[in-house]
Amino acid sequence: MDWAIIGVYLVLVLIGWISIYAATHTSEPGSLISWGSRAGKQFVWILTSIGLAGIILYIIPPRLFEIGSLPFYLFVLGLLVLVIFVSSDVKGSHSWFNLGPIRFQPAEISKISTSLLLSYVMSQQGFKITRLKDFLLAVAIIGVPMLVIIAESETGSALVYVGFIFVLYREGLSGWWLGVIGLIILLFVGTLTWGAFWSILVMTALLVLCNIVVGNNPERLLRLILGSAFVVLMAHVPALMDWLHSLVQARLDWMSTRVWVPAVDEDYHYFWSFVLKIQPIHILLFFSALAFPVLLYRALVGKKRFLLITLGVYLAGVIMVFSTDYIFQNVLQPHQRGRIEVLLGLREDPAGLGYNVTQSKIAIGSGGLFGKGFLHGTQTTFGFVPEQATDFIFCTIGEEWGFAGCLVVILLYTFLIARLIIDAERCRGKFTRIYGYCVASCIFMQLFINVGMTIGLMPVIGIPLPLLSYGGSSLWAFTILIFIFLALYRDEKKYF
């Protein structure tokens, strides 16, 4: 039995419970354990979770997880579909079952069933991920619940399933897939959130970096310096252009107030109006277009396969960025555009663009090194941060406990994930190992998306922080996920 994981689990759950109390104590009077407040309810969820953990560890025979994975998967899939038709509308999504006082989200349980079935299928004799048929089977197991969840308008929850790619990678999937899928997501989200310039600049940086890391060139250091210098320089172009444009604009404004001298002023005006039209993206593309043929020539002549491939990917990326941009701006109907913007958190909230993220950043940013102290946060307790007990629970930690608190919490998660990977690696049974990776991936994805969202690194995607956020479904789901692994792992030890 890995008591370290159980220890970290308990600490995180307790931190969550206290933070929920801190986030809600002004708006919901009541003690930590009374049913009237969220903190009180969470206490009940924690007790029941511990009960669940006990059942999983000591009552259910571990073999059952393996044997029952397929029926369980199908059952949960049925629930996922069912919920679309019977659920009430909660903030536009149809993913909640209302059972009297209790509501629960099958999407949370689906993580467990998908992990189990994926582990079961991939641990079968003769399964090879590199074989197309097997690969497609694995993708289907992951993809089907994902699609159903998207149909429930819970796209955020669906995004977590992308994390299973790490499991496939561990089991032999080519690293290229990881890179390409990562790049596609990065470019798509990047183009819509930060714009084409930054997306292409990030891609340029990646191209430069990859070729330096992969090639075994003696001029590596020089290239690294030159490459990063170029990228850093380019990163300042937008600010520089802004400054230049404001100067030019001021000059043109001034000109419009004085007597017009046709011969001189028209040329002048034409020239500077042209300068005003130049955007940062043009400058970046100009340099890219200069460098591209040179690099292509070197790749072809020197037979540098990696460079050639990355150049191809780069070109495809640029095309994708522009087509994304073009389709988004010109082809999509306004309401379709709106839906995507909401999905990406570009236009989520009624109080104005980016209200949630701004408030959340203010809350975390005002925490400083050691925070404002327990129950002394003004942002979270006075209700500036939305969803402060659920999706934005990390804000409370950031504001009241400061960087120290954030560091501790994130390191606890890191320890948990790393420990899961290491334990999984030690297993003889393929099923346990793959399942361990599934658990680690799920926790990692939700941690990264959730924390990234609160600090403005990710779009606003409404998913809870594992174990910390208020809510029974999520806590139960992660408890079950983790403790099934612990049960399997303990069982594993019996071989020794």
Partner: protein, 613 residues
């Protein structure tokens, strides 16, 4: 199966992702400070307490600008519930459309307004506010806020006093950190000149609030609150009675009168006509378009901004320079045959008077030809290598009288006028391709010479002081208000003191010579006041000549120096001289004996002569 070390790569990836998160959190919490301020602003609400603006007094303690209570109507759009628009409109004296439009505008801007309050109406008089106050419980989301409003007991003219209005973004940007939107600031005149003293310091109450903008409690029980500090009072150099009298005399005329106390440089009156009526000044926002579209440009402060050719009054300057340079002696006689003839058939005309005449007579009768000789002698002087050097020497003299540059008064928006130098003509004609006859109209204050009425008044004060002036200023030092030491320093001209009496005698004759002697300014004569003056008639390419007059009195120990400039007023003696003379009489004796003249001046309407843009 070890998975060819892939778990190591995944662990490294995990580490990188965690570092990315922690790095961002570190930046947010430790490196950037702005979020902490935002958090304070987020959770506390400051209710501004606006200070009372300082009072502006005249030199005798009369209130020129005071304050009365008014109110702003503030709306918090989020708190507004359904209400009777018509009833509110009736109470506030506006149309229901006005309220509907405002609310519609706030609805459109709701994301930027959030739960803040916005000002719907400004400067609501107390009577109206009292009515609103009784029924405001029926209009949730609407409240009043006390603001001072300017009050003007004396009609001293809007251009002198200046107006106060809400700052715009450009103003806020120009004064970083000093103003916030909703603040008022003096924009022109004395209000702008002494904005820093007058405005006072804002105070505030701090309350804690939640995100719904509901006030939860006073922050630290009000320990951090700050009382507003009222603005400092300003004592000006203006004589309220004289100023108001000047306004009355100048009504229905375009032009300006500036009066200065020569012994101090204090500006006694600064009239610019047409001006902004003080009735409109308090709530300038309401009248702004109307004022801005008036073809006579009432916003334009002619006293310090209009550049006019000074005309014949400038002969005094040329005479003084001639005396100082030794090329003119009072006993020199020059002929005048209806003007000064030069070149092939060119003539600078003059009116009919006896000839030849000496210097005193030339001033008294304002002879043009005499000063053509004087100017020619100054710039064609052998001691200068060429005419360009001669002109530049002249230029330097003229500048020492304050012409062609800003005098540096404390009044805002003063302009410099212009005085030509050799560069001016080299540019126009080419080096060496012009001579003293080219520039001959400078002798009589025409041509490329431009000066403001303030310059002319300052010239008059300089002559009254026999050779020096104090920089004209509008604010007196008083308790808590200092003026710059430069206002106490004598500014000497390049002409020696002993040259001045010769010229002054000519000015005395112009006003006081017996009838029939040919004095041009006899109309300005007042028994026993010893007024010395000089008329001017400046050509105006846009119509009738401008009427110009400068004078000071009494001859010894002068108490007042004054310049009057009436656009399209004809000869100097027609309008400028009577107006200046009446003002001198009023100031020195407190009364006016020449009732008929006064009535004629007040009633005269020259507006139809003035070309409008």
């Amino acid at each position: 199966m070890t998975g060819d070390g892939r778990h190591i790569r995944l662990l490294i990836g995990l580490g990188a992702a965690v570092l990315l998160l922690l790095g961002n959190i570190f930046t947010l919490q430790i490196i950037k400070d702005s979020y902490k301020e935002d958090a304070d602003r987020n959770s506390t609400v400051r209710e501004t307490i606006y200070p009372i603006r300082g009072t502006i007094y005249d030199r005798n303690g009369k209130v020129l600008v005071g304050n009365k209570i008014s109110y702003d109507i503030i709306v918090m759009p989020r708190e507004v519930r359904e209400f009777d628009t018509l009833a509110l409109a009736t109470v506030l004296n506006v149309t229901p459309e006005f309220i509907r439009n405002k609310l519609e505008e706030y609805r459109r801007r709701r994301s930027s307004i959030g739960s803040q309050g916005v000002t719907m109406m400004r400067m609501v008089p107390a009577e109206v506010y009292m009515r609103f106050d009784e029924v405001k419980y029926r209009f949730p989301g609407f409240r009043g806020q006390v603001r001072g409003m300017r009050e003007y007991p004396v009609n001293a003219g809007g251009n002198l006093l200046g107006y106060v209005s809400e700052v715009n973004q450009a103003y806020i940007d120009k004064h970083p950190g000093e103003y916030r939107s909703g603040d008022y600031a003096g924009m022109t005149g004395i209000e702008a000149a002494r904005e820093k003293d007058l405005r006072g310091e804002k105070g505030y109450h701090i309350y804690l609030r939640n995100s719904r903008n509901q006030i939860e409690q006073p922050y630290k029980d009000g320990a951090e609150d700050k009382e507003a500090v009222p603005g400092r009072d300003i004592v000006t150099t203006i004589d309220a009675d004289l100023q108001q009298y000047g306004q009355e005399l100048m009504q229905n005329k375009v032009g300006s009168v500036v009066a200065i106390e020569p012994s101090t440089g204090e500006i006694l009156a600064l009239v610019s006509s047409p001006g902004i009526d003080v009735e409109q000044l308090a709530d300038i926002g309401k009248h702004y378009t109307e004022i801005a579209q008036n073809p006579y440009k009432p916003m334009y402060n002619r006293a310090v901004q209009a550049s006019y050719p000074p005309g014949s009054v400038f002969k005094l300057v040329n005479g003084l320079i001639g005396l100082q340079e030794g090329v003119l002696r009072p006993e020199m006689y020059y002929p005048c045959s209806q003007g000064y003839h030069f070149g092939a058939g060119h003539k600078l005309g003059c009116h009919a008077h006896r000839s030849p005449i000496n210097m005193e007579e030339s001033i008294m009768m304002s002879c043009n030809a005499y000063y053509c000789y004087v100017l020619k002698n100054i710039i064609d002087n052998r001691k200068y290598e060429n005419v360009a050097d001669g002109l530049d020497a002249w230029h330097e003299y003229v500048q020492s009288f304050g012409f062609g540059r800003k005098l540096g008064s404390d009044f805002p928006a003063e302009l410099s006028g212009s005085i030509p130098s050799s560069k001016t003509y080299n540019r126009a004609y080419g080096r060496g391709r012009w001579n003293s006859t080219t520039v001959i109209s400078l002798s009589i204050g025409q041509g490329e010479i431009l000066a403001t009425p303030l310059h002319l008044a300052n010239l008059c004060a300089t002559i009254a002081n026999r050779g020096y002036y104090y920089i004209p200023h509008i604010v007196k030092a008083s308790e808590g208000v200092e003026i710059e030491p430069r206002f106490y320093e004598k500014q000497y001209t390049m002409v020696d003191t002993l040259q001045f009496p010769k010229i002054i005698h000519g000015m005395w004759l112009a006003v006081n010579a017996p009838a029939g002697a040919g004095g041009t300014a006899r109309v300005a004569h007042v028994e026993s006041l010893d007024i010395c003056g000089k008329t001017g008639t400046a050509q105006n390419p846009r119509g009738a000549d401008n009427s110009v007059f400068i004078c000071f009195a009494p001859q010894d120990n002068p108490k007042i120096a004054i310049a009057a400039y009436v656009e399209n007023g004809g000869f100097g003696a027609q309008y400028a001289a009577p107006i200046a003379s009446l003002m001198v009489e009023k100031y020195l004796t407190g009364d006016v004996t020449r009732q008929g003249l006064e009535d004629r001046m007040k009633e005269a309407d020259l507006m139809s002569r003035v070309k409008r843009d």
